[in-house]
């Protein structure tokens, strides 16, 4: 029997499996090291798919970009193998800048045939981490606080909302995902919408 370590790659992939199995979510970008996944893609209204942006060789990339046209949401996710790595020194600043840069690129694509119609989509920051034991409410709260603070002042993204995905490895080796959310006063999302989002992934949802 082969055993696995819950690396960032596996934590991220487990969530991508939920995305692939969902009906409403489209994976526009995911960041393994190479292969045909190095560019951001989108689907036009006629369902044809094309590259809409290609990262430079030294350009920082987010880990996952998801689109849900029904909910009018773009979710830009930063991922680590543990929640503590998301709050390592300078990490929140670095990750926030990456998300902001990605959002800026997407906003610049209004005339692109494959991006057209998504100008008004809400761009939300997502954090994803792996956990071999359940993270504490305190650790999640601290992480979300740090990211909200970092995002203050950024434009083009919803700076009042964070969605977190925890990929949890049970003793049985089974991986499950849970959605956590923080909605501040000006959040573009409602609690009901977070429930719809969680439902679309087929996972549980909890406030943070």
């Amino acid at each position: 029997m082969r055993k696995y370590k819950l690396t960032e790659e596996i934590a991220r992939w487990a969530f991508e499996v939920r995305c692939m199995q969902s009906k409403g979510w489209y994976i526009a970008f995911t960041n393994p090291t190479a292969g045909p996944w190095k560019s951001v893609k989108a689907r036009a209204e006629d369902n044809s798919e094309s590259e809409i942006y290609r990262f430079g060789s030294t350009e920082e990339r987010p880990d996952i970009v998801l689109i849900n046209d029904e909910l009018k949401i773009v979710l830009i996710i930063e991922a680590k193998d543990s929640i503590y790595k998301l709050t390592a020194p300078n990490q929140a600043e670095k990750s926030s800048k990456v998300v902001f840069a990605m959002a800026k690129v997407l906003h610049s694509l209004s005339s692109n045939k494959y991006w057209k119609g998504r100008q008004d989509h809400r761009i939300i920051v997502g954090l994803l981490w792996g956990a071999e034991s359940k993270t504490s409410q305190q650790a999640r709260k601290k992480t979300f606080d740090i990211y909200l603070e970092q995002m203050a002042g950024f434009t083009g993204i919803d700076t009042s909302t964070i969605l977190g995905i925890e990929t949890f490895k049970a003793e049985t080796d089974e991986l499950t995902c849970e959605l956590y959310f923080r909605l501040s006063d000006n959040s573009c999302l409602s609690i009901q919408e977070t429930e719809i989002i969680a439902q679309s992934f087929g996972i549980n949802v909890l406030p943070c």
Binding site: R2, K5, E9, I10, P32, G35, T172, D173, L175
Partner: protein, 495 residues
């Protein structure tokens, strides 16, 4: 129904999943069906039903995440990581390995992935390299793939009697487009053909000869149309253009009893100077260096004296670096340099003044010595004469090789500490050593020269290993470092 369970080991789940999707697609086109099950909520297993056989492919994404990795898979990984490897746990057998890249490698990255090609072939594992033939360079222009992985693939197929293919996708109208060109289809038609034979209890390469012939034919046609953009001449052009050659190579790849070494004698063998085409030999002339290095100057002089030759009169130079970058690199090398135990001692002499400016603004400097990175000597004796003249401390120490042995010299101008055993150098040495004759019937000795790197990095790994440390002892006969410190990795000696 007959069932067979195979493991697909992959650099990432995406690559493993992509492999299985394409296999399922080809089977589907022939009437097969499939469904996917996720073990433990994340690990895809493709169950492919085809006629009376069920092939289950379970993906192990991200090599480093798993334990234990099958020993035979781990052995291959030591030589560089292919993107995916198929393994049969029931018979402890690796079936094939594949490297694919989304980009067209240009410049010194063209052979970057060839250590994986060599690594798989040395274990007799059929290997495919799927690469974009036409790609977009950073300058916005289109670039075409290099000939070196193809040449190494053709030669390894013969030497190791195992398939070693380079298959191209994209075309000039559709740069880096997987759906354009034949490569993607060829790769997965080959894989599904092998899986079909294997799951029927036949040898894995049964029924592969026509497909291999077609792919070798494509590789030969690629060489015909591309060689003159890269080198001034290509040996065996007549054989490359012969319609039968692809079939001859396919016979070697499947290890057919019909494979006859006489029929491919001297195929892609880079000749001695006397056998060069007249117009090439008559025009051999050394070139000026961009940054002075005595040994590189001797190499160029030896080209002028017709005791060595180079491949192209049109070689490019490496990326210029800023003064502060180079100063930092020199400091790193100097900190690592230690001559204790050497007899005679070697001197550290890298200095920023030795790196000339590339522009009037004096912001960037050359690190390139000679533009050529490949020199082919007829005789070891002539090569070491230049080495002794440049580095007197080596006088008399390099006579352990027959003075009449021909030599291939590879020069790397890398200067950043550690840029010896990683990318792209390991791949370049693997490709060039193969291409220029390490395994030829009349083999060439292989020497790597790193004028800006210090030798102390070689045995400073505290027992840890990487693909370069694994590969270099097998493929090089000598490495010469800064200050004229030579290392014989095969015998673990510093000279």
């Amino acid at each position: 129904m007959k069932k067979i369970e195979l493991e697909i080991w992959a650099d990432s789940f995406h690559e493993g999943n992509w492999c299985c999707e394409n296999i399922a697609r080809i089977f589907a086109a022939e009437g097969g069906k499939h469904h996917i099950e996720y073990v433990n909520g994340f690990q895809p297993t493709f169950h492919i039903l085809f006629k009376n056989i069920e092939i289950s492919l379970i993906i192990f994404g991200s090599y480093k995440s798993w334990e234990p990795i099958p020993k035979k898979v781990a052995e291959i990984l030591n030589w560089g990581k292919p993107d995916f490897i198929a393994y049969d746990p029931a018979f402890d057998k690796v079936l094939f390995a594949v490297e694919e890249t989304a980009a067209t490698a240009t410049g010194n990255q063209t052979a970057q992935r060839c250590e994986r090609q060599y690594g798989s072939l040395r274990f007799g594992i059929p290997y495919w390299y799927l690469v974009s033939e036409y790609g977009m360079h950073i300058d916005g222009g289109a670039r075409r793939d290099s000939i070196w992985p193809t040449i190494a693939g053709l030669k390894l197929s013969i030497f190791k009697r195992t398939p070693c293919l380079v298959v191209h996708y994209s075309d000039i109208e559709n740069l880096e487009d997987y759906q354009a060109g034949k490569g993607l289809d060829m790769l997965f038609r080959s894989i599904t053909t092998m899986l079909r034979s294997y799951s029927n209890g036949q040898p894995i390469l049964e029924n592969m000869e026509p497909l291999l012939k077609e792919q070798y034919d494509d590789m030969l046609h690629f060489l015909i149309s591309q060689w003159s953009n890269i080198v001034d001449f290509l040996p065996s052009l007549e054989a490359i253009q012969n319609d039968d050659t692809a079939e001859r190579i396919a016979e070697f790849a499947i290890n057919s009893p019909d494979a006859d070494m006489e029929k491919v004698k001297d195929f892609l063998h880079w000749p001695l100077i006397q056998d060069l085409p007249n117009e090439i030999r008559d025009n051999l002339a050394g070139k000026c260096l961009l940054k002075y290095d005595k040994l590189c100057e001797m190499f160029e002089n030896d080209v002028s004296s017709h005791v060595a030759y180079t491949l192209s009169n049109n070689a490019g130079s490496g990326k210029p670096r800023t003064t502060s970058e180079i100063q930092g690199y020199i400091q790193g090398q100097e900190r690592k340099f230690n001559s204790v135990g050497l007899n005679p001692l070697a001197n550290f002499s890298l200095s920023i003044e030795h790196f000339p400016f590339t522009n009037k603004q004096e912001t960037h400097r050359h690190t390139t010595t000679a533009k050529n990175i490949v020199y082919l000597y007829d005789r070891w004796g002539d090569f070491i004469k230049s080495v002794y003249s440049s580095y007197p401390r080596l006088q008399g120490k390099l006579s352990f090789i027959d003075i009449d042995a021909p030599v291939f010299v590879y020069v790397s101008n890398s200067i950043k500490l550690g840029r010896v055993f990683g990318d792209p150098f390991t791949g370049q040495i693997a490709a060039y050593a193969t291409a220029f004759g390490k395994f030829d019937q009349q083999p060439r000795k292989v020497v790597a020269y790193f004028p800006h790197q210090v030798h102390n990095q070689v045995f400073d790994k505290n027992g840890s290993t990487n693909k370069g440390i694994t590969l270099m002892p097998e493929l090089t006969d000598l490495i010469i470092f800064h200050g004229g410190v030579a290392v014989d990795l095969q015998n673990g000696k510093i000279l």
